[in-house]
C-alpha cells in the first residue's frame, strides 16, 4: 500500500488476485518476484537434482581429491589448507543425498537438501581452489545458491523469485563471457582463424599433456572457413542472452542456440559444460517464460 497508494479494499482485492504480469514490461518488483506455482520450481529443482547427482557420481574422484596447490576461492579463504580427504568424502556423501532429496523430497529430512546444497558449494569451491578456477562449475554453484535461497518451504512468490533470479544468473554469466572475449581479444577473437586456433590450442594441450583430443578438432581445422561465422555466432549468442528474458519464444530460440554452441565446444574441444548441455542452465529461463496463467497461483 505504501508503494501503490491503494486503498485497503483495493489492497485486499489485489492480494487475492493472481499475479499474471510476469512479462518484462511488468513493474520491476513484480517482474523480479512473479508468482508461480511451486510445481514449476519443482520441475527445475528435480532436474537440477538429477544433473547434480550424475555429476557428483561421474566426478567423484576429482571432487574428493585434495589439490596439491591451495589458492582458496573467495568463500573458502578461511581454510588455510585443503580439507582432509575424509572430510571431502563426507561432503560428497551429503551432497549426493541432498541432491537425491531434491529429486524426490522426503518430509522427514527437509534439512537435507539445504545441507546437501551447502556441501555442493564447498566441494565445487574446493575443486576450484587448486590454482585453476573451473568456470563450468560456476553456473551450477550459482543455481544451487538460488535453490537454497528459495528455502525448503516454497510459496508462490518465493518460487517465482528464485526462478527469476536463476534465469538472471544464467543470462549474466553468458553476457560476461561475451564481454570477456571482446575485452581480451577484441575483434581479433572473430578474425580469420581465431576460433580454429582456439580449438587447435585445446587439442594440442590435450595431446602434449597425455590426453586424447577430439577427432572433430582435426575436422574443424579442415573447415577453417567456418571460423569467422562461428566466432561471430558465439559472441552474438553470449551478448544476446538478455533477449531470452523478453518472452518464451525468444527464450526457446536462445536456449537452443546456446545449447548447440555447447555441443560444438564439447565435440571439438572435449570441454563439457554439463549444466547447459543437460539443460539445467536454461530451464529457469524456459519455465519462467511460460504463459503465467497456466501456473499462476491465486
Amino acid at each position: 500500500m505504501f508503494f501503490t497508494g491503494a486503498s485497503p479494499d483495493e489492497t485486499a482485492r489485489r492480494a487475492m488476485t493472481p499475479v499474471r504480469r510476469t512479462a518484462i514490461t511488468a513493474t520491476p518488483v513484480t517482474w523480479l518476484t512473479p508468482s508461480i506455482s511451486e510445481r514449476v520450481l519443482a520441475r527445475w529443482r528435480v532436474w537440477a537434482g538429477v544433473v547434480l547427482c550424475g555429476y557428483l557420481l561421474v566426478r567423484v574422484v576429482a571432487l574428493t581429491q585434495a589439490p596439491t596447490r591451495w589458492e582458496p576461492v573467495v568463500y573458502l579463504r578461511w581454510l588455510d589448507a585443503p580439507l582432509p580427504v575424509v572430510v571431502l568424502w563426507g561432503l560428497w556423501v551429503v551432497a549426493l543425498f541432498g541432491s537425491l532429496v531434491w529429486v524426490r523430497p522426503v518430509e522427514s529430512v527437509r534439512w537435507l537438501p539445504v545441507v546437501g546444497g551447502l556441501a555442493i558449494l564447498v566441494l565445487f569451491g574446493h575443486r576450484s581452489s587448486g590454482g585453476q578456477i573451473l568456470w563450468f562449475d560456476i553456473l551450477p554453484a550459482l543455481h544451487v545458491g538460488a535453490l537454497l535461497a528459495a528455502g525448503g518451504r516454497f510459496d508462490a512468490v518465493r518460487s517465482g523469485w528464485a526462478l527469476r533470479l536463476a534465469s538472471l544468473m544464467t543470462v549474466i554469466t553468458y553476457v560476461l563471457a561475451g564481454i570477456a572475449k571482446l575485452r581480451l581479444g577484441g575483434l581479433d577473437w572473430v578474425s580469420d582463424g581465431a576460433l580454429e586456433r582456439n580449438i587447435s590450442f585445446s587439442a594440442t594441450r590435450f595431446e602434449v599433456l597425455g590426453g586424447t583430443p577430439s577427432p572433430f578438432a582435426t575436422l574443424f581445422a579442415d573447415l577453417g572457413f567456418l571460423s569467422v561465422p562461428l566466432g561471430i555466432s558465439v559472441i552474438a549468442i553470449e551478448l544476446g542472452a538478455p533477449l531470452a528474458l523478453v518472452n518464451r519464444r525468444i527464450a526457446r530460440v536462445w536456449a537452443l542456440a546456446a545449447w548447440v554452441m555447447h555441443v560444438g565446444i564439447a565435440a571439438t574441444m572435449f570441454v563439457i559444460f554439463h549444466w547447459p548441455l543437460l539443460g539445467a542452465a536454461f530451464l529457469p529461463l524456459l519455465l519462467i517464460a511460460e504463459r503465467p496463467e497456466h501456473d499462476a497461483v491465486s
Binding site: 586456433r197 587447435s200 599433456l209
Partner: protein
C-alpha cells in the same frame, strides 16, 4: 504476499546481480563471481605448453598420461599445476611427484616446455623444446 516482502526479495535479486557483474569493474576472476574468461584470449600462431615426459632404462622416451602428469583427468588443471610450479620454482617437487605417481618403472622424468605451431598438423614435431627440469629414479 505483502509488497514489502516482494520489495525485499527484489532488492536481494538486484544485489546479487550487481555482485555478479562487479568483475566488469574489479576485473577479479574468482569463484563463483568471475569475469568468465574461458576461451576469451585469442591464440597466436605459436603456443607454449609445460608438460612432462618419461624415460625408460634404455633412455627411450615414454609418453606419460594425463593422470601421471597432473594426477587429474582435466588438462586445464594439469596445465595450471605445471605453470604454477614453474613460476614458483618448484618443478623439482612436481617432477618427483610424477615419477612417484607412474607405475611404469621410469628411470627418469623431464619437465619440458614445448612450443607448437597451431597452424600446422598436430602430428608435426614441436617448433621448440626446452628441458626445464630432470629428475631420476633412486
Amino acid at each position: 504476499m505483502g509488497m514489502g516482502r516482494r520489495l525485499l526479495l527484489a532488492t536481494v535479486s538486484i544485489a546479487v546481480c550487481l555482485v555478479l557483474v562487479s568483475p566488469l569493474v574489479t576485473g577479479t576472476d574468482d569463484f563463483p563471481v568471475s569475469t568468465q574468461p574461458m576461451f576469451a584470449v585469442p591464440r597466436g600462431q605459436f603456443a607454449e605448453f609445460v608438460t612432462a615426459r618419461g624415460f625408460d632404462d634404455e633412455g627411450e622416451v615414454v609418453d606419460l598420461s594425463l593422470a601421471e602428469i597432473g594426477g587429474t583427468d582435466d588438462p586445464l588443471i594439469a596445465e595450471a599445476l605445471l605453470r604454477a610450479a614453474r613460476s614458483s620454482g618448484t618443478l623439482d617437487r612436481v617432477c618427483d611427484r610424477i615419477l612417484a605417481r607412474s607405475d611404469r618403472n621410469l628411470a627418469a622424468v623431464e619437465v619440458v616446455s614445448v612450443t607448437h605451431d597451431l597452424d600446422v598438423a598436430r602430428d608435426e614435431p614441436p617448433a621448440a623444446l626446452d628441458v626445464l627440469h630432470r629428475c631420476v629414479a633412486r
